[in-house]
Amino acid sequence: MGLRAAFQAFFFFVLAFSTIPLKAEIKVASFSTVLSEITQKVGGKNVTVTSLIKPGQDPHEYQLTPGDLAAATAADLVLLSGKGMEASYLNNLRDALPKRVEVLAVGDQLPGLGKGAGGEKGGSGEATEDPHWWNSVSEVEKATALVRDELIHLDPGHTADYQAGAQAFLSELKELDLWAKRKIAELPRDRRELVTSHDAFQYFAKEYGFQIDSIEGLTTDQEPSVSHVSALIAEIKKQGVKAIFLENTLNPKVSAEITRESGARIGGTLYADGLGPGEGETYAGMTRHNVTTIVDALK
């Protein structure tokens, strides 16, 4: 009787697992360098990730190419940053993708933060809230859970693998977040005034208690007005801000004028729009670079 019961249990076990299809490999096309890393960490050997935005590439300036569209069309899953980052080509992309391709705009599932001091750009689906959610480690933790759930949805046969991959990456993120908090705690809270090239650090500011002033707006294609630069210089002087931070997208004449007139110095270059060459090749490296650069310059 015991043997029969065991045989039945084994039979049902085999039957149950044979009904869950095991995908050979999920093809993912990613329009975000950070999402590419998350997906690779969570998916491991069960996914092939094609990064359509390359490390160091400005996603605000990205143009959808026929080659990239073909890669997206061939994928099982397309990952977008969301929150308006892909506004200039999103409609064309959605129209071109076959129905079998799943699209996950990760940022759209995360809480929004409004416009900062750097001006605004509204209408036509363009960015009206900060799309740079990856500049907060806790938002990347949420994004990791979203990617994990999407991979499980597409490939339930490898659920355990995706859960383990996500858990390992979430542990790394928890450690990274504590490191960031401790490093930032070295900086008095009344000196946390962050002047950056473009308005990309609102999530960072909310997480770690900074005030934000940006030279450009939410996107890198907005030239700052003379009145905005003058107001910014006055604010830097008033607050006694020691340093401003750059990206390689800013017109160097503007930053030179701001430092000359305000007395602040250039504190360093930040990775604002995702992964990049050098220390920013990984998410942890990017975050450690940004936090260290900011804290050491403002101390």
Partner: protein, 132 residues
């Protein structure tokens, strides 16, 4: 001889003339007036004997052991306490491996503020105290 004295006299005048006519750079140097330090009383109460250390602006300001679970221990600090508040990095290691808690309190200007860390064996976190 007189000519030599005149030349020396003119040369001596050069320095003050240069100083008076030099165009000085008008770059503003950002300065923030230092505020007087405030007396902040920290206290710690734990559910199990523990070792701890507390850092303010990256420096250890209080460390020790707390063997008493029925009363709190205290430490006075004279530190800057801006309206934005202060961050303290706290590390606690309990003797027990089970779930334990440590409450850190800060009293400043008559306001008492509390934060609690929970952990199994140990806990590390950054706690923020603001008066608002």
């Amino acid at each position: 001889m007189q000519a030599a004295l005149v030349i020396v006299g003119l040369l001596l005048l050069l320095f003050p003339l240069h100083s008076l006519t030099q165009r000085h750079a008008t770059i503003a140097t950002p300065t923030v007036a230092p505020r007087p330090a405030k007396r902040v009383q920290l206290s710690l109460r734990t559910t199990a004997p523990c070792r701890f250390h507390i850092l303010y602006l990256g420096q250890i300001v209080w460390e020790g052991t707390d063997d008493s679970t029925d009363k709190e221990i205290m430490k006075d600090l004279d530190i800057d306490f801006p309206k934005e508040g202060i961050d303290l990095a706290v590390d606690v290691t309990w003797e027990t491996k089970g779930l334990a808690a440590a409450e850190i309190s800060a009293t400043v200007d008559g306001s008492e503020l509390h934060k609690t860390l929970w952990g199994q064996g140990s806990a590390s976190d950054v706690v923020t105290f603001t008066k608002d």
